[in-house]
Symmetry: C2
Subunit: 340 residues, 2 copies
DNA sequence: GAGATCTATTGACACGTTTCAATCGGACCG
DNA sequence: CGGTCCGATTGAAACGTGTCAATAGATCTC
């Protein structure tokens, strides 16, 4: 076993050892770590050198116990398996990493129970703030944290009142874009395939779809609601659709669409020849799928990154921080699955 | 604003308030939380009722300061954007959530610098243990944590010495399966497209490929090494390949393969007619791609879940825990991209 | 040159929990 | 009935850091 160059560095080296070695008081070491500008340059340099020599690592538990919060934020998403949310997570993680924050990642799997459990866990961890895509409503579990004074930013969910930040994409418009496009392509019997309408994203996309139909004064919307929003669910739903094929299917996300696509192609249902298919999210794989998928594009990485920025702004300037509700506009990416 | 049923519950309710309200000492409350079996059933029930009434949430910072560690583990992966690792993360997260642990997720983006920074952050957070897919070598940064007595399990990377657990998939065999299959299909001029060989997964898959060639006594391996392992990199590599098309391309992951596939199809290079393509990981989208992709399947969710289990076992029974090196065997999934 | 002002540093206390030796009360044994 | 043992509970110390009022030293002002 290699011996450390500093001799027998034992179990823990704390702020006190550093202070002693550098010939200053513990308070000064703490200042070097937290408010370096208040320490004379030479002292600062000396302390930092000792820190490096001794391999000192600050005890985050003690720090956040005393300070009331640490350099950790919580990130709670609906579904870690969905590339859309994976990209959101990447955006958050990148920014937090730059600012030297850690991220506790939780998946709620769209279940209120898991959401509540994880929120409680985050509260226990004294996280500095939380980014959350709520399962149903921002007045539910997320409110629990806000009561405790933990800043919260809603991700992909609008803030109903102006007392918190949110970053969203306009899902009503997204639904409208998709169905309007299908109508233009001549589809009339349209299926909306989505998850539970208690999840806002689904409800809004459906609302946009209905609006498009109303404005056009044509077409009908059949609704197929599934429990989960992965390709397996799309698979199963598509099998039920085979009995009575629609002109088009508008899927509330790309995973569903890819499941649908697969069944249709296997069963010899031509896409786009017989049925048009539109997805949502425009995940990286939509373009590469068997029939390149028309999809409503959202900017997930940017979503995560901006939400993270808002959260840290609220944490760092609690006084002057002005809550913002940011809404991006989605974009329809037209590919082969809806070509004439 | 709704008033709490317990009156004006202020900022923080600590273990002391609970103790007072329940007519016991703080020590007993702590025992209810940590060793309930040592507390008389009636006392326990009373304390738990008060905890619920007061909405008490344990302060994890104080807890882990005193106890030396908290209920958090670190998870460090190469690339959060890769569905393979996303599935690994899901496996870890699910198990940890069941055992009431939190997970701090970090991505190293295959950069040693980011790995080191994040490892330091995890050490600061006093994590209970760490699951890590090291960028290059387990003797690098991960060793830093082990010196501090933090249990570490290697994910998708074998433990060289028997002093820690690891969970891996046999990548040499995986490479062999892929290339052997290509040889059987008649390919001779084969390209290996992968990331830096300093990353073990790439090195092993290449080694397996070479072994297959040697055993067959036929065929040659051209190597194309790219910096990142996403579909963009595959895209760029494929464009360079157009100048001198091989018989087959063995890609070190599916993202690369999908990038390659896209360029080939756009440029009119028939797959599998002119070039065979094999991927690696068998991500969910491989089956749905334009030409369904032959790929080497790994069990990512199981990988994550088992690694998590091993880590907690080491944490909970530090004495009797026996380090294990678990290796799964990969499986070749044959699809259209290599059909005759 | 004496007081005022300012900067750099100090030192002790507090954060909320866990832990452990000490204590208490009751049951059991001879 | 006295002594012993055992389980349940207690109370205070300690974990390592951040904070802040106090201090020391240096510079400036009149």
């Amino acid at each position: 076993m290699p011996r450390s160059e500093t001799g027998s560095r034992d179990v823990t080296v704390g702020i006190k050892e550093v202070a002693q070695q550098a010939g200053v008081s513990p308070g000064t070491v703490s200042n070097v770590l937290n408010r370096p500008e208040r320490v004379a340059p030479e002292t600062r340099a000396r302390v930092q050198r000792v820190i490096k020599e001794l391999g000192f690592v600050r005890n985050g538990s003690a720090s956040s116990l005393r300070a009331g919060h640490g350099r950790i934020v919580g990130l709670m998403l609906l579904d870690l398996g969905n590339p859309f949310f994976a990209e959101v997570a990447r955006g958050v993680e990148d920014l937090m990493s730059e600012r030297d924050y850690g991220v506790i990642l939780c998946g709620s799997a769209s279940q209120a129970g898991r959401e509540a459990r994880n929120m409680r866990m985050l509260a226990e961890q004294q996280v500095r703030g939380v980014l959350v895509t709520p399962v149903s409503d921002s007045r539910g579990t997320p409110a629990l944290l806000r009561e405790r004074g933990i800043p919260t930013v809603l991700l992909d969910h609008p803030a109903t009142r102006g007392d918190q930040c949110s970053v969203t994409v306009d899902d009503v418009t997204g639904g409208w874009l998709a169905v309007n496009h299908l109508l233009e392509r001549g589809a009339r019997d349209i299926v909306f395939l989505g998850g539970p309408l208690t999840i806002r994203q689904n409800a809004d996309r459906r609302k946009g779809a209905l609006r498009a139909l109303r404005e056009a004064g044509a077409g009908t919307l059949r609704e197929v609601i599934v429990d989960e929003m992965n390709s397996r669910a799309g698979h199963e739903a598509a099998e039920r659709l085979l009995a009575e094929l629609p002109d088009a299917v508008f899927c509330a996300n790309d995973l569903l669409a890819m499941g649908v696509l697969r069944v249709f192609l296997q069963q010899g249902v031509r896409v786009p020849g017989r049925v048009l298919v539109v997805g949502y999210d425009d995940i990286e794989y939509a373009v590469a799928s068997a029939v390149p998928l028309t999809s409503v594009r959202q900017p997930p990485y940017k979503l995560g990154r901006i939400a993270a920025k808002l959260l840290l702004d609220e944490c760092d300037n609690p006084g002057e921080h002005a809550h913002q509700q940011i809404m991006f506009q989605p974009e329809l990416i037209i590919r082969e699955s809806t070509s004439r």
